[in-house]
Amino acid sequence: MIETPKVDWLALSPTLALLAAAGVALLAAVIGPTWFRRAFAAFVVFAGFVTAGVLAGFLFDRTPNAQPLLNESMTRDRWAALAAIVLSGAGALSVLVSWGETRRDHAGEFYALLAAAGAGMVFFVGASNLMTLFLGLEWFSIALYILCALDTHRETSLEAGLKYLIVGSFGSGILLFGSALVYGATGELGFGEIAAAGITDDSLLLAGLAMIVAGLGFKASAAPFHMWTPDVYQGAPTSVTAFMSAATKVAALVLTLRVLTVAFPEQEHLWTVAVAVIAIVSLAVGNIAALVQRDIKRLLAYSSVSHAGFMLIAVAANSELGGRALLYYLIPYSAMSIGSFAVVAARERELGVPVTLDNLGGFLWERPLLGASMWVFLLGLMGMPLTGGLVGKFYVFSAAYESGWWWLVVAGVIGTAISLYYYLRVLLAMWTRPDPALRPVVAGGSPPRDPLLVSAVFAALGVTIGSFFFVQPLIDLARDAAASLPF
């Protein structure tokens, strides 16, 4: 007779909330009347994300110290909980952003998949053995593949979906083989057990570790595993891009740090250096490649690559301060990237064409509020004052220096210096006179009254600026969360 294991429902509650939302939305999409599907699904999924966030907060509160669940299938700790909060926030904002996208078919499914992807990430950040890691990864990846390709009438959307699917499966195949090797070396799947196996320099283990790092680096879109990023970000529906740019990074980076610290403490001397090098490459590639971009989504994609570099610096620090820095950085970063993509979406809808440096002209004068918000977001990505971006960089560099990586600090500084150039091009482009040829056409409806998007932008704005003034509370949260990893 099988004694069914005791399941900690609270630990799973955020995931379940999102799954439930997905299910309801899906049902609505199938059975509800047409006019009713979209609104209902959107509302349910938004509510699902909010609930998940609240539950995650509750979880954070109730989890003073980490507990492995179900024979280390997953871990209930504050690290995962805080990440879940950020993810839920990102998801909720993306829902608001996506509302304005006039999608006549599959609207319900769209939101269902969004919720499903969110659920996958929320689960993923808590995963703590190689199997759940792989499954969680595939869970949200597959959802994202579909979302990217959802606008089947747009060739770019299809192209993005196909590229993401193939390259992504390739990456996860490598991750999988790596996991297999690690399993072979240790005979264990759970992170803690792998570390407990106490195998220090086993070539199987190391090869597996290398492949796992690569697989996770792929999801975090760190160079040289980044090349799918610009294409996919550009081709995917903008709201999906917004969600991916924030959430995927959060999930991937948070779990990367967890795997590396929990499962491979003995190999620290290897993976810190590897991560550091990857970070530098990402900084260089992301920033330099962005210099010549004219398509804003593409430019922001490259900038997200460079930001992955920044956050990997925090990972490479491999210290409690590093974890703190990573979690802090993720909060304003998510807000800024979602916000900026939201603004791009708004512009795109009123022009009916992809947004480039040229047709961003005069945006600040036509849409002062959105333009000003875009300003703040870009300044934040630059790491300028009055945005959390500055404090985030500050923490990351501090962590790097504290761990003795002074050359990472230098690299980060240089990267930032380069990045200013292209951000500034966008900033100044918004000030230039509007080109009469680019009067808002009645494509997405001109100008679309989209209060939800605007409110999303303002929420992101609030986080971006608030995280600058109220560092202490955020840092306290981050400290508690980072405390649950073994540094």
């Binding site: 595939e138 299809l158 699917l165 083989f177 297999a180 072979g184």
Partner: protein, 102 residues
């Protein structure tokens, strides 16, 4: 156990893995690329199973089963995509998908 020991299983899986890789890297038909991906996943499965045999615990086999499911899902989505693509009367050739670049 009878027959060759685990090492040889692993060699085979390694060979399969690189064959799959080659397929992904070389072939231009998305269908065949998908098939090659399947081969990669299966090579991993082989490794998992032989390791689980080696250590004598079931985790590897469980993992393998899960991977099977995942592989199936990937195939489903992939085929759906391919169908959608062909619906748009686009040539089924991954090298033709380069509107997005630079």
């Amino acid at each position: 156990m009878q027959g060759p020991d685990v090492t040889w299983y692993l060699v085979v899986s390694a060979l399969l893995f690189s064959i799959g890789t080659l397929g992904v890297l070389l072939r231009r038909s998305p269908l065949i690329v998908l098939l090659s991906l399947e081969i990669m996943l299966n090579s991993a499965n082989l490794a998992l199973i032989s390791f689980s045999r080696l250590h004598g615990d079931h985790d590897g086999q469980i993992f393998a089963l899960a991977v099977m499911a995942v592989a199936a899902s990937e195939v489903v989505v992939g085929l759906g995509l391919i169908v959608a693509v062909s619906r748009r009367k686009l040539v089924l050739d991954v090298d033709r998908f380069r509107v997005l670049r630079g």
